[in-house]
Symmetry: C2
Subunit: 159 residues, 2 copies
DNA sequence: GCAAACTGTACTAAATTGGTACTGTATTTG
DNA sequence: CAAATACAGTACCAATTTAGTACAGTTTGC
């Protein structure tokens, strides 16, 4: 359907939320609460992000997660890579080798690989820092607007 | 998974195949045979392409389909639009309105809409004519290489 | 009238995704 | 050291989406 998965979407939401207070440890519970998502779901996403080095985790009583890099250096493509296990590519054939018996002769495969590259660049060109304006006003509750009732992607939960 | 659906993929394959002999009526059976796909599947794709005006159909004994435009004027985006019923957009929130309760206040939505536009341009910038070299050698069986055993995307069928 | 070929719908099975539960481990705190 | 907190990892089930096919109908050409 040419969509990123919801988990990936949550990833962008979570990282964006974390970018509001960079270099600060936030627990999965806090993030889940702030975004209106289930704790288990948020944990799943954070774990994947951690495996790919986008966030650092800290266990224990006052543990939590924090971004491993400044938001300017985290792109949408990074998050996609972390949360979609399969290799990047709009078609099965162009995502890797071995799937298609006609790889050597097929010419549309080359075209798809080119298309993939352009799409990927688009995702790489957008950083998390660009997703929301920088929090100049440290007092203004900039992410609070997201705390009202949770994102609509969760309409099911919100019932 | 950030993939187009297989049906859409078949669409590109079918239209590319038809572009090899433009302005010529080809039956769904012939296309299915040439590409190693099931007839019902090919019919389903062609019907959708017809509904969106990409191919013209002709019923009856010697009927079939033909491209409604020269291959240069058919883009990958056209095929995606025809075969993915849902509106274009990488995330649910950015594909349309009404899905999310935070639309008005949400700032990452704007970013996603921008990303969508770039991705869409990438798909619009590639025409079917670019997918394979133009058939200068009318004798050379350029599409024949695809007739060997069917695309690997169908490994299940071929197995 | 018969056969070829498209039209349209409906259904079933498979694959993927989404969400959650449960058990384990590390760290802080007192 | 014990208790509480929070991450780690796995495994599982439900919901959704996709893929493929079947079937009954209609149009056209011979
Ligand atoms: S690489 Fe699979 S059909 Fe071209
Ligand atoms: S528009 Fe849905 S979370 Fe932003």
């Amino acid at each position: 359907m040419l969509r990123i998965s919801k988990l990936t979407d949550y990833g962008t939401l979570i990282v964006t939320q974390m970018a509001a207070t960079p270099a600060q440890v936030v627990s999965a519970t806090e993030l889940a609460d702030a975004l209106g998502l289930g704790l288990a779901t948020v944990s799943k996403v954070l774990k994947a992000l951690g495996r790919h080095g986008l966030v650092l985790s800290h266990r224990g009583t006052r543990g939590g997660y924090l971004l491993s890099r400044p938001p300017e250096q985290i792109s949408i493509a990074d998050i996609v890579d972390a949360l979609e296990e399969q290799p990047f590519g709009l078609t099965e054939c162009s995502a890797g080798s071995g799937t298609c018996s006609l790889e050597t002769g097929c010419r549309i495969r080359g075209s798809w690989i080119r298309i993939n590259a352009v799409v990927r660049e688009a995702l790489q060109g957008v950083s998390i820092a660009e997703m929301t304006p920088p929090p100049d006003l440290s007092n203004a509750p900039s992410p609070a607007s997201q705390r009202v009732s949770g994102p609509g992607r969760l309409a099911r939960n919100a019932g």
